[in-house]
């Protein structure tokens, strides 16, 4: 009789990661919820402008400061613009700022940190000195200073956020690179003839990425709060562009006299989005390294 037992196919790393993720999501309803929420926000960011009932920039003097009702779910602001439309459309901008900041700081901080940990020597010292100098400032104050110096544009907000988070990413990346360097990855790779840069990008960076991914989710939340905070004090995006932070700023004065919807809905959107990213970060931490759960 022929042996009919089949050999189980060896799972690719991606397949085992997905299976592990599904397991964690099943065990952890909170993370699943955060994931679902994240998808909702992503949808709003991608398709929001097409789907909103009103033009976010269209003012209507007959309809100023109306509380939430059937036609205007979130009410109207002081120029008669529909708050719901503005809040939804603003998702795209805030989401973009978050993603761009995080991508930039991953590249800047990740590469610098990995190089510092891998090569050591003067690169390590320079990166360390830069990181220390940045960390000597209260972070929001530094972001204020950078945006004030360079000008109120979205690009500068993204840059300021990236700079302010640079030390953290550099430090994490450096530690991981150091560990890998000690662990003999490097010797093995060198022995097989790989140039330094190839080792760096091919071996070390992919290993550092999962650990940074957790931090990136948290940084996305921070980036949005940062941008909103800067916009709130007038240093961020300029009106009439819909962005959650300036919407809260514009609505602040009315809140004091009882017209709460103007500032409340963009603020709530901020909170829910950041909350989602934080929960997601915690969940990702469980997927990536369950030992580090707090």
């Amino acid at each position: 009789m022929t042996d009919t037992t089949a050999v189980a196919p060896r799972q690719s790393p991606l397949a085992s990661l997905l299976r592990h993720s599904r397991h964690v999501l099943a065990e952890n309803p909170v993370t699943s919820f955060a994931f679902a929420l994240f998808l909702l926000i992503l949808l709003a960011a991608l398709f929001g402008p097409q789907m909103v009932p009103y033009d976010p920039l269209a003012s209507n003097t007959a309809q100023t400061l109306k509380p939430p009702n059937a036609q205007h779910w979130f009410g109207t602001d002081q120029l008669g613009r529909d708050v719901f439309s503005r809040v939804t459309v603003a998702t795209r901008l805030d989401f973009f700022i978050a993603v761009a900041s995080v991508a930039l700081v991953f590249l800047m901080g990740g590469l610098a940190g990995v190089a510092a940990g891998f090569f050591g020597g003067w690169i390590d010292r320079v990166v360390g000195r830069i990181a220390d100098t940045i960390m000597a400032f209260p972070l929001f104050v530094l972001a204020m200073g950078i945006v004030a110096a360079l000008g109120n544009t979205v690009q500068n907000i993204v840059l300021a956020t990236a700079i302010v988070n640079f030390p953290l990413y550099a430090r994490i990346a450096r530690t991981e690179a150091n560990v890998r360097r000690e662990a003999g990855f490097v010797e093995a790779a060198r022995l097989s003839g790989n140039a330094n840069w190839r080792i760096l990008i091919g071996q070390i960076l992919p290993n550092v990425f999962p650990i940074l991914v957790v931090q990136m989710s948290l940084t996305m939340g921070y980036a949005i709060l940062n941008a909103a905070g800067l916009s709130f004090i007038g240093l961020g995006v300029r009106p009439p562009t819909p962005e959650w932070g300036i919407m809260v700023a514009e609505g602040a004065a009315f809140m004091v006299s009882g017209q709460w919807w103007n500032a409340f809905f963009p603020g709530a959107a901020l909170m829910i989005t950041v909350f989602c990213f934080n929960l997601l970060g915690d969940g990702l931490r469980d997927i990536v390294d369950p030992r580090r759960r707090t």
Binding site: F137, L139, M144, A149, I233, M255, V256, N278
Partner: protein, 337 residues
């Protein structure tokens, strides 16, 4: 003990130097003409040129830097365009307002977060523990200016308990004679309980806003640290020796758990200094944060530079204090220094 302080102070000096250099570079290496920034948006080309010469902006960078440092050493932070006053004077007058607010906010935060963290750690996985974690995560997600506005809406507009968010004192009251600049302290020194009460009333909401903001990291760190300490060997010994629950949890566990919490306070203070700016805007608080923001919006650059420098210097000094405090509590650090 002294050696510890001196050592830590020495380590703070490179940070201070870095701060001075960066604030210098922020203004000099701007795209565009720095002189135009300092002259203001309404200046004529001639006025800009005058400013350029006056501020030495036509000289080589190194020379500019040495002038800058000398000026700083003499306490000269430049002059504000909008008010015509020396920046350092205005900063000095406004600093106590910010300090009083931030310190009170931090106190509120610690008073709530630390007991919450301790209780959550002593009852892991209980309802209270889960509530603590959710509140922490939510707290971290709330934009601080939003919290302030919500609090105003509920406590001022809706309930009428809090006064109007119009600054440090209601219009009817005069500031107490200046001793420290802290209204709470000065009014007590002057023996004026009504002013004390009035100042306190104005402080409640903004301090609470800052407190809510910094609640999360402190509660989280306290809980994590307590959990780690409570499962350590020496706690088991303490329990085996029959020490009371209070002694075990507070005298033994908490004092050890406090160490990482104190280190976290440094980071929390960094966030608070930033949040301060936003809270001052919401509550019309006359501190250095609102000073900087007003100057920024008027494109008045010298106050902003002075503000960033001051904040950063305060932060460096604060971290130094925290390091020393850590040494006071942990004899291992003190005796190995």
């Amino acid at each position: 003990m002294m050696t510890l302080i001196i050592k830590r102070a020495a380590m703070a000096i490179p940070s201070l130097i870095g701060v001075v250099v960066v604030t210098f570079l922020l203004t000099r290496l701007l795209p565009g003409d720095p002189a135009a920034y300092f002259a203001g948006p309404a200046a004529t080309p001639q006025a800009i040129q005058e400013v350029r010469v006056k501020l030495g902006l036509d000289k080589p960078l190194i020379q500019q830097f040495s002038h800058y440092v000398v000026d700083l050493a003499h306490g000269n932070f430049g002059t504000s365009l909008t008010t015509g006053q020396p920046v350092v004077t205005e900063l000095r007058t406004r600093l106590p307002a910010s300090a009083e607010l931030t310190l009170l906010g931090l106190l509120v935060s610690i008073a709530i977060a630390v007991p919450l963290g301790i209780i959550a750690a002593t009852r892991p996985n209980s309802l209270l523990d889960h509530t603590c974690r959710i509140v922490s995560t939510a707290g971290v997600s709330l934009p601080v200016f939003f919290t302030g506005l919500i609090l105003i809406y509920f406590f001022y507009y809706w309930l009428g308990w809090a006064p109007a968010p119009l600054g440090r004192l209601d219009v009817f009251y005069l500031a107490p004679p200046q001793v420290t600049g802290f209204y709470l302290i000065d009014s007590l020194i002057a023996g004026d309980p009504q002013t004390f009460a009035a100042a306190l009333k104005q402080l409640v909401l903004p301090a609470l806003t800052l407190g809510v903001f910094s609640l999360a990291p402190i509660a989280r760190m306290t809980r994590a640290s307590m959990l780690a300490v409570l499962s350590s060997d020496f706690i088991r010994t303490a329990r085996a020796n029959g020490l009371s629950n209070w002694t075990v949890v507070i005298t033994y566990a908490f004092r050890n758990a406090m160490l990482p919490v104190i280190t976290t306070l440094g980071m929390v203070f960094s966030f608070l200094l930033g949040a301060n700016v936003l809270v001052e805007k919401v509550f019309a608080w006359p501190g250095i944060g609102s000073y900087a923001v007003e100057a920024l919006l008027a494109s008045d650059f010298a106050p902003v530079q002075g503000f960033v420098l001051t904040m950063a210097a305060m932060y460096v000094i604060l971290n130094l204090v925290i390091d020393v405090l850590y040494g006071l509590i942990d004899p291992r650090v003190r005796l190995e220094a």
